[in-house]
């Protein structure tokens, strides 16, 4: 159940709880070990990486993926898939550019609209997957097709318009003039806020119901969990967080039709690296976010290693398979 080892106290079933906590630590611990090794390796290759400036820049780069991974976590843990998050990111960026069109005054209303779009896509995904009983893999695959088609139908094939400076600031600027670290990026602040929020949510009633639903939805239903409602909320969280990530990426990477491509797979990979079991019911949100940080560290590492752009994919593929296999091996060993 709870993946936080600290949460497993010395209750009446201390034995099984202890073992479960050990298992959780081993399965989620792997990712922190991997993250630590990668960061240390990067620091060896590039000694000033661990200074506040470059390290915050790394966190800033990683923030959208970490937020996407947190969103995907909610859906994965409930036993579903969300393949639409990449297309939500694309939609958010393209819609923002067209509606804002360089006018700073429109930024905030548009942001509200974008978050609403993300949430609405989530409601659609959730309702179709639960009430109409379409497997979420197919629902969100359909949503992906529809969103990408719709947004380019609306803009006539290529993104138009421009983002205002204050919109871009969310992804690329921060609070200036802080001693020691010089600048605290907004995206890192948002990242921390969303991370804390996600942990608190997973510790609240909703989180426990979500894990129970993913683990065994019949048992959860019989014990009074509103399974459909819990799942729909998970999709809404995923859609909304994807919109947040899109707002950041728009500022960070600029307007393009490819901005969200493949992000859904990156997000799911990050979660699985963090020990989340596809099919639901097992994994912790902190580990999923650590998985995203690891993936971003992996990209940085590959850059520093000077591995040519072409073979980068190959190395990434090998490492992902190896890491997940290692996690599976550790998990089995602890049984």
């Amino acid at each position: 159940m709870s993946a936080e080892p600290a949460a497993a106290g010395f209750g009446s079933e201390a034995g099984s709880r202890g073992r479960r906590a050990l298992k959780a630590l081993l399965s989620t611990g792997t990712i922190f070990l991997l993250l630590f090794i990668l960061l240390a390796w990067i620091a060896v290759l590039n000694p000033n990486f661990l200074e506040p400036g470059p390290f915050l820049a790394y966190l800033k780069r990683a923030a959208p993926l970490v937020i996407l991974a947190a969103g995907s976590y909610f859906v994965l843990i409930s036993g579903g898939f969300d393949l639409s998050v990449g297309s939500i990111v694309t939609v958010v960026v393209v819609v923002a550019a067209r509606l804002i069109d360089g006018d700073a005054g429109r930024t905030w209303p548009v942001i509200v609209l974008l978050l609403a779009i993300g949430a609405a896509v989530g409601v659609f995904n959730g309702v179709v997957s639960t009430l109409l009983r379409v497997p979420s893999f197919i629902t969100t695959l359909g949503t992906l097709l529809m969103l990408e088609g719709a947004v380019f139908l609306w803009t006539g094939g290529a993104p138009r318009g421009a983002l205002a400076e204050n919109f871009r600031a969310i992804g690329r600027e921060g609070i200036e003039g802080i001693p020691l670290i010089d600048e605290l990026p907004w995206s890192v602040l948002l990242l921390v806020a969303i991370g804390v929020g996600a942990v608190l949510l997973m510790r609240a009633d909703y989180g426990r119901q979500l894990i129970a639903t993913g683990d065994n939805d019949r048992a959860a239903r019989l014990s009074g969990v509103r399974v459909e409602q819990v799942r729909i909320i998970a999709f809404v969280l995923s859609g909304t967080l994807a919109a947040v990530a899109g707002i950041m990426l728009g500022g960070f990477a600029g307007v393009s039709a490819q901005v969200g491509q493949g992000l859904e797979f990156d997000a799911i990979t990050a979660c699985v690296l963090g020990g989340v079991v596809l099919g639901g019911g097992r994994g912790s949100v902190v580990a999923a976010m650590a998985g995203a940080l690891t993936l971003e560290a992996l990209f940085t590492w590959l850059n520093l290693q000077g591995i040519s752009g072409a073979l980068e994919d190959t190395v990434q593929g090998v490492i992902i398979i190896a890491a997940v296999a290692f996690a599976a091996y550790r998990l089995r060993g602890a049984r």
């Binding site: 797979f265 799911i268 596809l278 296999a325």
Partner: protein, 339 residues
């Protein structure tokens, strides 16, 4: 050895099964609603296209649709095998691209090289499938991640070695893509052969029964003495080999190998959509290859209609997404409350 009943037959008592007429058998087949939907879509498309002044029910148009279904049909037949197991394969697009490149560069325009090229491509396909299967079973990596990782690996290898179309297939091999017997293109027979083969494999061999058993419940199959790992690995080998055949076919159509031929076609997600559109459960254990072909044809009819109506390419995606969701929602309703 355990004998597992094919899932189509076990819900009915034997006496009823014996007396079932051919018609009843055909209608009770899990593929029936898919072909019902296909006929519906077909008639609708016919009416709409004819009203708009296009040609729908002409021989050339139907042959055209058939030809466009061949590539997706072959990959989807392979994808059916692994989805029935409860697995899936996201690496097929990259396998298609790689095998088209390997075929074209090995042949290099010489007809003497055709056989070695085909053997090489099939061998590489089998090896990739073997790797997928072993990663999934022995390393216990989830199929989603294992095949996604494999897709990344192959994509890196392709990008490292080729940056554009390469090689040239021999003339004889190229003509295969365009040969016709009467009005029927030779490639349609390739598709037919693949479908018949996969159908027979699933329906009449032990291996086929094992696939349904493992897809139904892997743990139970293992406890009943099935070598589940062997079944999973074999299915993945077959799936990747069929993707390699698709690559060969596309190389023959295009005359050379292309690094993006698989990803441009979106064959990974498209083939999964076709399989699910064909009524196969994504969790495995239920469905079959006939439904998949129905699903492929539905997608082909839609594509053809949109092209004839000159529908905006982006609107096409919107409608296609909607139809996939709607169709699967209808199947889910039919399957009743236990899902």
């Amino acid at each position: 050895m355990t004998v597992v009943d094919p899932p189509e037959t076990h819900p009915r008592p034997p006496r009823e099964r014996r007396s079932a007429s051919w018609r009843r058998g055909a209608l009770a087949s899990p593929a029936a609603p898919v072909f019902g939907a296909l006929i519906g879509v077909f008639i609708l498309a016919w009416i709409v296209v004819t009203i708009r002044g296009g040609d729908f029910l002409t021989v050339s148009n139907i042959v055209n649709m058939l030809q466009r279904s061949v590539a997706l049909g072959i990959v989807s037949a392979g994808q059916t095998l692994v989805i029935l197991l409860g697995s899936l394969d996201l690496s097929v697009s990259q396998v298609i691209s790689l095998s088209s490149l390997l075929a074209a560069t090995t042949m290099d325009g010489q007809s003497a090289n055709v056989i070695p090229a085909i053997l090489l491509v099939l061998g590489v396909g089998a090896l990739i499938g073997l790797a997928n299967g072993l990663i999934i079973t022995k390393l216990r990596v989830n199929a989603f991640i294992a095949t996604l990782g494999m897709a990344l690996i192959i994509s890196g290898i392709i990008q490292n070695n080729w940056d554009g179309p390469a090689g040239r297939v021999s003339e004889g091999f190229e003509s295969f893509g365009y040969t016709r017997f009467g009005i029927v293109p030779a490639s349609a027979f390739l598709l037919l052969a693949v479908v018949v083969l996969v159908y027979a494999l699933l329906r009449y061999t032990r291996f086929g029964y094992r696939i349904y058993a493992v897809g139904g419940d892997e743990e139970v199959s293992k406890l009943s003495g099935l070598r589940t790992h062997r079944t999973i690995v074999t299915a993945h080998v077959l799936c990747s080999m069929l993707a390699a055949v698709t690559g060969l076919f596309l190389a023959s159509r295009l005359g050379s190998g292309t690094p993006t031929v698989g990803t441009d076609g979106g064959y990974d997600l498209e083939s999964i959509a076709a399989v699910v559109l064909g009524g196969t459960a994504l969790m495995g254990g239920r469905g079959g290859v006939l439904g998949t072909i129905g699903g492929v044809f539905i997608l082909a009819v839609l594509d053809n209609t949109f092209n004839q109506l000159e529908v905006n390419a982006f609107l096409k995606d919107v409608v296609r997404g909607l139809i996939i969701i709607a169709a699967v929602a209808v199947y889910a309703r039919r399957q009743g409350r236990d899902a």
